[in-house]
Symmetry: C2
Subunit: 336 residues, 2 copies
């Protein structure tokens, strides 16, 4: 529970129960702290009352409501951070995070031993078997951080042969690198000034590192791309500076995929107009990608779990936030 800026507390709460016939209750195998959890933790997003936290999860189905058909108790499942019916026209169009009946998992609070997942049939994807423990970090990552990095790369139209820039070296940006590599990018330029993150970016497939930011960073990208800018740019921060850095690093006709939750951003219309870029982003429709991403993890093709460089028991959740806030950890995995 978040009581205020910097004040996360582990406390006993009532176990969730089935409220609607389409609900499922999950016993979480693992959960984690998201970069976006740091906005309220830092007091940039405010709340008047204590908030349950967390929206990334995987685990074993404990119980399902009477209308649930596609998942059953005992199955291992992963779900997105937005529950969705997966049947409405928006879901069918691939935008499940904006389902006409979308429900934020954050409101339930996934940093907990048990979680109620609404619209279970539309939201959860089960594995054939309960996976071995070493697969858990990778599978947990598909729930948001990988799904979001993947969406960013997809929104940025990463394709074989393209030059990709990644703005933001948090876990989402790093998995944007992994995603771009999977999609066949020829060159992947990570903008980062942190050595540990640069190393991980190279592991995931980054070919170049740029440490400069803002206008200087843009000038570096232009220099590296014959003055044109990149074909595809992934924005994974959400500030005015990062958005403009992304737009200005993109060549005319190129694509910006932005997934950093916007904070105080106002895009100047005339500059955007003459940039000639494509802009697409928002809350990632993780459900669209889940089956494919879970398969990639289970087959060993990718290891997105490498972004978890700190693992703590759930009752040390406060330290998990602190470590990320102070940039001692890239991403904290929590074991209930």
């Amino acid at each position: 529970m978040l009581y205020g800026p910097g004040d996360v507390r582990f406390e006993e709460r009532p176990d969730p129960a089935i409220l609607e016939p389409t609900d499922a209750i999950i016993r979480l195998t693992a959960t984690c702290v998201c970069g976006s959890d740091l906005w309220p933790y830092r007091g940039i997003d405010r709340s008047d009352q204590p908030m349950p936290m967390g929206h990334e999860y995987c685990g074993i189905v404990e119980e399902v409501g009477s209308a649930v058909r596609l998942v059953r108790p005992g199955q291992f499942v992963v779900g997105s951070f937005f529950a969705s019916d997966n049947t409405c026209p928006i879901c069918k169009g691939g935008y499940q995070s904006r389902c006409v009946d979308a429900r934020p998992i954050g409101a339930e609070g996934a940093q907990a031993p048990y979680l109620r997942v609404p619209l279970a049939d539309g939201t959860l994807v089960a594995t054939r078997e309960v996976p071995p423990d070493d697969m858990i970090p990778g599978l947990l990552a598909t729930s948001d951080v990988l799904g979001t990095g993947w969406f960013a790369a997809d929104a940025a139209e990463v394709k074989p042969g393209k030059t990709v820039v990644v703005v933001g070296d948090g876990a989402v940006g790093l998995l944007g690198v992994l995603s771009a590599r999977q999609m066949g990018a020829e060159r992947i330029i990570m903008m980062s000034r942190h050595e540990d993150r640069q190393r991980l970016a190279r592991t995931f497939g980054a070919t170049d590192i740029v440490t400069e930011r803002g206008d200087e960073g843009v000038a570096c990208i232009k220099e590296m791309t014959d003055g044109l800018g990149a074909h595809s740019v992934i924005e994974a921060v959400g500030t005015q500076e990062s958005m403009m850095q992304a737009v200005r690093s993109t060549r005319p006709g190129g694509h910006v995929g932005y997934v950093g939750v916007s904070h105080g951003v106002a895009l100047p219309g005339l500059e955007l107009f003459f940039s000639g870029v494509h802009l697409h982003g928002g809350p990632a429709p993780v459900r669209r990608y889940l089956p494919h991403l879970m398969e990639l993890v289970l087959s060993g093709a990718i290891d997105p779990g490498a972004v978890f460089d700190l693992t703590l028991p759930l009752d040390q959740v406060a330290e998990g936030y602190r470590a990320m806030d102070e940039r001692r950890a890239i991403k904290t995995l929590l074991r209930p």
Copy 2:
């Protein structure tokens, strides 16, 4: 020449001459006044000195520079409002209006009997024969107003079966309707409160008219689309209100194609983020579409020249601007 707000003058100027070996000189068969010419005419875009005006043109090649290979004197040609080399990576990617060597035709002033066109080989498209006079308005339209409406529909990913909204009932918006029809849209909703423009929109293929604007207009669109919004929205105005009307009329995952030159627009990042729309636009890469659009006109498949509801001799250019400014005319064709 524009001397100041509301002050357009017909005056004698020296004929243009070849300045670079890649230039061509065109004797204009027709030119016209663009909606974007009204921004400086109304004093919203300011200039300290008299400006030559006009950037839409078609006519007969009079003379070419020594490096010109693809067009020759005597040919009838149409060109885009940006000259482009059509060989650089940006041009090859289809964004000729943002060519690394792009030159605005507006700086030359196409509301004139003769025009110097830089980068003639990359910019001009010739017909096989000099077309008959009744084809001139349609061919002139391909130079900008149709090319821009077409790009807007393409940027909005108009496809068979889709529902399309058009914000802006000027000539570009009207030809956005025509373009959407050509691209197979199932339903085309024109937002307009002017009866003459509504009529022309229906001629071009609009299936519905919405007279409400702003939030009320958005509510109408939502009601007509099961609460979801349109798949594709064409924005052809360039104001904050029109941009927000376009974004809010689009369903999550849908596409906004915006071509109204932005004036005072600042897009709120968080709203854009949660809208889940694709945003693409800017100065239309007309050169990409010219061969196809000219063919559609010459074959009689489309008649975009219908947007010209006033034709004047060039020396009455001032009246041409006044009529458009006062909305007595949709678009003025000028005959040198």
